[in-house]
Amino acid sequence: MKSTITQSRSIRSYFSGFQTSARFVRGVDLAGQWAAPILIVAVLIMAAIFAPAFYLPTNLKTVGIQIAVLGIVAVGQTLVLLVRSIDLSVSAVLALGAVIVVQTEAGGPLWISFVEAFAVAAAVGLANGLLITKRQVPPFVATFGMLVFVQGARLAYTKGQASGTVPEILRAISFEQVGPIPAALIVWLIVNIIVLFILQKTRYGRWIYAVGGNPAAARYAGIPVDLVIIGVHTICSMLAMLGGLLLSGYIGYVDLRLGADYNTNSIAGAIVGGTTFTGGRGNLFGTAAGAALLIMLLNLVVVLGLPIHWQYAVQGIVLVMAVALQGFRQFLLSR
């Protein structure tokens, strides 16, 4: 046998060559849990030094409303990620909402257009859920298909150009202020309280964590796994719709490109906040902090006068860093 035997080194072995102390592991674990809040404080301090314009009242209001909109969409995304799914159609639903409300306002009463908007959102979420559970379409593909479909349907419906004015009520729940606080932030807070209650205090909340943590064990425990997944997708789409209505109330007009970034940003917000792609882990405090951090960074790009396209770089970096940190934390904890 005249052949050389070489020792191949796997990627894992490079990783594990790394000597760690218990203190280091604890540090990374805490960093993973508290990354978003800690970074928020750091960003606030840096902004005070390098970009004082960040603290102008008008800018703070802008940031606040944007956090509220992204925060609401990210709550839905967190729920979906908790059951090992993903929703790439949130941006399309978000953009659709404003269009429906604005276009129907001209005709019938306002409340009907709201009912219509949320019914359409629920239908999109239901379709996502049914495709994923009953037809076993991978969530990535099912919701991406839905994204394209909903976008196309919206363009067909508006014939390429949206027109009309945003109703007063949307401005009231978004842009108007309650004391010093923009109304949108209060809506965000209410959404968080309701969903937090569902996750912590109801049977459905336990089911969500069980389905994400171990779908087989959930099924054996008699949990209606498919219904949980369908329900979560429906809630996610309806929250995206709510986010869309708040966003149009804030912008004051309807733009066809409205909300295009919300897929990446809602996922990034949830992941920065400690939710994992593998399901069963994540909480709303983290997601709230993650969404806030992301919006603040994106805003700083504007305030610092950098070319606006740097925003994309920021989104990408935050998402990759967050996934890397959470992955590393998982790796260390499993040793």
Binding site: Q19, Y209, A210, G213
Partner: protein, 510 residues
């Protein structure tokens, strides 16, 4: 190939662990373990689940970093190892779950970590097959394993030999075998033992982990007992006996594993008529009475587990009837549980537990409606009930909020049993209730089963451990290739009788 015995004189200590400590999230897995392994010995490692065997093995293979203590290998001292380092030092492990790539050939798997290279540093396939053949020959397996066969077509026993050949390919001097016999049919055991003895005679050190004490007396030279993360004793196998090992393991003498039978079967709870499940189960008939323990025996793939799953609507019934308490059985797992018909599934990590969640979460999971009104949980009520069941089943540590992944196998199993006991069952199906758990936890589960039958609960017990079926059941139903091949009443219980039916040997062929 080098022969190890030429360069290492026997009686030399090749691996020595001194005062190893390791804890996970404040729980001590190992508090003070010392262990040494000589060249040319089979050193058995025994202890209850949760005693720290797996943690110790993972420290030797470099998967875990110890908090304190030192590791000496061939005279060099290490604080900790990493997997590559461990492999280069000649440490290899064969786990119960194989690290084989099922779609690749035997030769490809054997050479995975060290491909023989030929010209232009391309893989030399001929040399690879030749190497595989040579290694298999040394294991005496060259006659029935073809190096070019795809691994997934091999039997479990053959795959295990491939794993051992992989260890030989890196010329492992320290070979760790984690419960190698648990997954083997008994006819493959002798071959495995011969292989292990030959490896020892070549001068390698072998750490052999098993729950079956008989094997240790047959195979091992020395034995070390772990209990609660500490070394209790290291003995020469010749100087000890069964009873002493058990009392060292459990810290008390264990008189009888199986509590005496004190149940009286009552009325019929469950009746299965002509049950068929697509492709796995054909025309099965049986019944279960209240307060009765009915055993289901059969080899892997005999349809035993599928029947268990069909009873609680986890498998689709193709035809036939399941009558539970006089009515057709509920057709969803939730409805079945509501009616008191529950399955404690096999393989707790896959089907039993949401591992990243707490003990409380898991115990409550199928019982949430008990603690909730209109879907809203009443946490004080939940906590009270959970606290009681933890105390009742003596789950350790008794901390409701501890994550179940940090529990030992035996305690994990108790959580799975506990969550179904909370459902107030009338008929409990246990599938492999004691797989991979220690004697102490086993005895507790048997006691729990007796307690259930005393209360008039019917029990179905599916198991591949014949002694436990014989010790616990009133009758045993044996499955063979998806059919019920026979029923054995208690008076005629014997391992031979069960095996005969389980392997399809007709009585009149004798």
């Amino acid at each position: 190939m080098t022969n190890v015995s030429n360069n290492v004189p026997s009686d030399t200590v090749i691996l020595s662990l001194k005062h190893i400590e390791k804890s996970f999230g404040g729980i001590h897995a190992l508090s003070d373990v010392s262990f040494d392994l000589r060249a040319g010995e089979i050193h058995a490692l025994v202890g209850e689940n949760g005693a720290g065997k797996s943690t110790l093995i993972k420290i030797v293979t470099g998967a875990y970093t110890p908090d304190a203590g030192e590791i000496q290998i061939n005279g060099s001292v290490y604080k900790s190892l990493d997997p590559t380092q461990a492999r280069n030092l000649g440490i290899a492990a064969v786990y119960q779950e194989f690290n084989l790539l099922p779609e690749l050939s035997v030769a490809e798997n054997i050479s995975l970590g060290a491909q023989p290279l030929g010209r232009f540093r391309l893989i030399d396939k001929k040399a690879r097959s030749a190497l595989a053949y040579e290694l298999l020959e040394r294991l005496g397996a060259h006659t029935h394993i073809d190096p070019d066969e795809v691994v997934k077509r091999l039997t479990v026993g053959e795959q295990q030999l491939v794993e051992i050949a992989k260890a030989l390919a890196i010329n492992a001097r320290i070979l760790i075998m984690d419960e190698p016999s648990a997954i083997l049919p008994s006819r493959d055991l002798d071959r495995l033992f011969t292989v292990i003895r030959n490896l020892r005679d070549e001068g390698r050190g072998i750490i052999y982990i098993s729950h079956r004490l008989n094997e240790i007396f047959e195979l091992a030279d020395r034995v070390t007992v772990l209990k609660d993360g500490q070394t209790m004793a290291t003995k020469n196998v010749a100087d000890t006996n069964h009873a002493e090992l058990v009392s060292l393991m459990v810290g008390r003498p264990l008189t009888d594993m199986y509590p005496p039978k004190d149940n009286t079967p009552g009325e019929i709870l469950l009746e299965v008529r002509d049950l068929c499940v697509e492709g796995t189960v054909y025309h099965v008939n049986f019944n279960v009475r209240a307060g009765e323990v009915v055993g289901l025996a059969g080899l892997g793939g005999s349809g035993r587990t599928t029947v268990c799953r069909a009873l609680v609507a986890l498998a689709d019934v193709r035809s036939g009837e399941i009558i539970y308490r006089g009515k057709p059985a509920p057709r969803s797992p939730a409805a079945a549980a509501q009616a008191g018909l529950v399955l404690v599934p096999e393989d707790r990590k896959t089907y039993g537990l949401v591992l990243n969640q707490s003990m409380r979460f898991n115990l409550s999971l199928p019982n949430l409606s008990q603690f909730s009104l209109m879907g809203i949980l009443h946490s004080a009520k939940e906590k009270g009930t959970i606290y009681k069941i933890i105390k009742n089943l003596q789950i350790k540590p008794p901390v409701p909020d501890i994550s179940t992944e940090n529990l030992s196998g035996g305690n994990q199993q108790k959580v799975v049993v506990g969550k179904w006991l909370l459902a107030n069952p009338k008929l409990v199906i246990f599938d492999e209730p004691t797989r991979g758990i220690d004697v102490g936890a086993k005895a507790e589960i048997y006691m729990r089963i007796r307690e259930l039958t005393r209360q008039g609960v019917g029990v179905i017990m599916a198991s591949s451990e014949l002694p436990e079926l014989i010790g616990m059941c009133d009758r045993i139903l044996v499955f063979y290739e998806g059919r019920l091949s026979g029923e054995i009443p208690r008076e005629q219980f014997s391992e031979e009788a069960i095996m005969r039916l389980a392997t399809g040997v007709k009585v009149n062929e004798e």
